[in-house]
Structure formats: structure tokens, C-alpha cells
């Protein structure tokens, strides 16, 4: 199975709160691939990128590095689309 990964940093000032978490899950749901979002550091957590609850548990503040991993036939496009959300700051400041 094809795998892709991308390291990103949360760059919107409010962090990964509920609205961006839901936006992420909406986009993740458009792909066949299984999506994981991994936070390292002192409180490591791996969230299922298709679960709003788990994405909110990441509690990723501005400046938090995260790794997006996808596994499936569309993993390349999935990772690119999801990383783009972070680059666009989820439409926030």
C-alpha cells in the first residue's frame, strides 16, 4: 500500500481548535487513504485524521510541529491537500 507523509507546523494563532479540526476531517474524509496525525514532544499523541474528537485531543497550539501520514492508493494527493490546509492557516490569521 502506498504511503506518504509530510511534516508541518501549526501556524494559525488560535491553533487546531474545533473548526479547523472539523475542516481537516472533512477533507481527510474525501480520500480512501487512512490518515494519521502525529504529535511528538512531551505529550505525544496519534490522532485518526478522520475523527474530530481525536483531532481536538491533539490540542496543537500555534508553533506545534505535526506529521501527517496517509496510507492508501491516494496517499500522495491526500497528504498534499491536508498539508495545504495548514499552509492556508485554515482561512484564519
Amino acid at each position: 500500500m502506498a504511503k506518504s507523509a509530510r511534516d508541518i507546523v501549526v501556524s494559525n494563532s488560535l491553533g487546531l481548535h474545533a473548526r479547523p479540526a472539523m475542516q481537516f476531517v472533512d477533507t481527510a474524509g474525501k480520500f480512501h487513504s487512512a490518515i494519521k496525525v502525529i504529535k511528538g514532544g512531551e505529550e505525544p499523541y496519534t490522532a485518526d485524521g478522520k475523527s474530530v474528537m481525536q483531532m481536538i485531543i491533539l490540542a496543537a497550539t500555534e508553533g506545534t510541529p505535526l506529521r501527517i501520514e496517509a496510507e492508501g492508493d491516494d496517499s500522495d494527493v491526500a497528504v498534499a491537500a491536508l498539508a495545504q490546509l495548514f499552509m492556508d492557516k485554515f482561512g484564519e490569521e
Partner: protein, 155 residues
């Protein structure tokens, strides 16, 4: 951070009288104001902000729980409470199921980190099947507080 750091236990509503979303939001905000966790004069504005937030996207994240929340300039200190509905409330939830437990979280505007941390604590507990089940079975404020205490203890 623990649940008890932001859940105002005196404001917990073991049986919501409201049968719809907007009524439940008002009931919980009024309960926080009655417990002096929010100025009375801010109630209407905060309720309106919460309703607007729900209209932009439901906080009914599934599994019978909703977590309405808002950051607002009238809120000086983070405060949360919980309300339980026996009949279930239509929150336009993501899984289209009724909501039996409503956790309300009010945050000041300028502390996004604290807000994310509180959401982290709340959702870590809400992920647990047992936590949700026990809450649904708890018909008094005292038993709800016990469930929250237990959740804090295992962290």
C-alpha cells in the same frame, strides 16, 4: 489541567428542562451566571454567540455528546458546565443522533492555549465509552461530580 479546573460544579444541570438546542444553551449559560462564573449582564450576548457558533457548524461531534463553546470578550475567566438531557436534544449532530450530554465551555478571547488544553481534557474523557455511559446514567449533580472526579483521577 483537569476537568475540575474549569467545570463549575454548582452550575451542573442534572436534568435539562430545555427540549431544543437554543434552550439548552441558554439554560446552561444562565446556570453559570447563577453560580457567579459569568456576569448576569453577559448572558444574552454569550447565548447569541453560542447559537451563531452552532449555526456555523454543529459541536455535536457524535456519540450523544455536544460541546458548545465560544471565546467572548465578556468572559474574563474560563468556565464550563455540563447538562444532561433524558429525552435527548437535536443538536444537528454529525452522526444525526440526539445529544444526551452537553458540555459548555466559555473562554476569554485572548487565551487560545488554555482553551485548547481544556478541549483536550474534555475530549480525552468523552472518547471513553464508560465515561459517556456513566454520565448518561447519573441523575443527580453529586453522581455527575463523582464521574468527573473519577475521570480526573485516572489522568
Amino acid at each position: 489541567m483537569k476537568l475540575h479546573d474549569f467545570i463549575v460544579t454548582e452550575a451542573i444541570v442534572p436534568e435539562l428542562q430545555a427540549t431544543n438546542r437554543d434552550g439548552a444553551l441558554r439554560e446552561l449559560v444562565e446556570s453559570l451566571a447563577a453560580a457567579a462564573a459569568l456576569p448576569e449582564v453577559a448572558v444574552d450576548e454569550v447565548v447569541a454567540a453560542l447559537i451563531k457558533r452552532e449555526q456555523n457548524g454543529s459541536t455535536g461531534f457524535g456519540k450523544g455528546v455536544a460541546v458548545p463553546h465560544v471565546k467572548h470578550p465578556k468572559i474574563k475567566q474560563m468556565a464550563g458546565t455540563m447538562g444532561r438531557s433524558v429525552a435527548g436534544i437535536d443538536f444537528a449532530a454529525l452522526d444525526h443522533q440526539p445529544v444526551f450530554s452537553v458540555f459548555l465551555l466559555l473562554s476569554p478571547e485572548n487565551q487560545p492555549q488554555q482553551h485548547l488544553q481544556a478541549m483536550n481534557i474534555l475530549f480525552s474523557s468523552l472518547q471513553e465509552d464508560m465515561f459517556r455511559r456513566f454520565l448518561r446514567q447519573s441523575s443527580t449533580r453529586e453522581t455527575i461530580i463523582e464521574v468527573l472526579d473519577d475521570a480526573d483521577r485516572v489522568k
